[in-house]
Amino acid sequence: MRLVYFAWVRERIGVPEEEVDPPAAVTTVDALVDWLAVRSPGHAAAFADRTRLRAAVDQQFVGLDTAIAGAREVALFPPVTGG
């Protein structure tokens, strides 16, 4: 599964993307974030405030409770501030 990060999520983790292979018990975006948060202090910092975290699964914007079964790409990022 490819993970992509943007804005301060990317900066705190230190890489723009990474390949991961989470265990079968990790079935939702929320569970994926819990699993990622212990990988490094950067991950922990990026995911400390879950209320400021948004996600997309295969480029579709979704809530953090969304299932990730079969997903090829999960994106994690702050609320958007475009325009």
């Binding site: 992509v4 997309a56 914007f61 958007v80 501030t81 475009g82 325009g83």
Partner: protein, 149 residues
């Protein structure tokens, strides 16, 4: 006719206006909105990050929704990414219709909704201090007024 572009190149208004007018067909009304980098609060540089692929797809969906809802002849969304300085153009939205009210309303819809529905992130630099812009509640209120009952 929909035109979407996300690019670090400066936005060429004359070219974008010509494209909309060409795509307008019989539609006699063209409305545009251009957002400029503001210099208030001492911002020296603004950097826009986006989610390649997903951003273009989100903008295309928005333009399709506007074309359908207001029967537009044409809609363009051009968004700049990368580093910009105050006064430069960040975003251009253009719409064409046979009715002026439709062109103007659709233009307002597109700029309101792209602020909340498209994956862009702004970082402002003042001197040595760079920080990510926080989302504004007002943007959500502006986008929400276009929700259909």
């Amino acid at each position: 006719m929909i035109h979407i572009r996300v690019s670090p190149e400066p936005i060429d208004i004359a070219a974008e206006q010509a494209r909309i007018e060409h795509n307008a067909g019989q539609g006699g009304a063209v409305a545009t909105f251009t957002g400029l980098v503001r210099a208030d609060d001492g911002v020296e540089e603004l950097t826009l990050e986006h989610y390649p692929g997903a951003t273009e797809a989100a903008l295309t969906r928005l333009a399709e929704e506007a074309c359908h809802r207001w029967s537009l002849a044409a809609a363009s969304i051009v968004h700049r990414v990368g580093a910009m300085t105050p006064g430069e153009r960040i975003v251009f939205v253009g719409t064409a219709s046979s009715h002026r009210a439709a062109a103007l309303e659709a233009c307002a819809f597109l700029i309101d909704r792209l602020k909340t529905d498209a994956p862009f992130w702004k970082r402002e630099r003042r001197g040595d201090d760079a920080r990510w812009v926080e989302q504004r509640d007002g943007d959500h209120a502006a986008a929400a007024r276009w929700k259909r009952e």
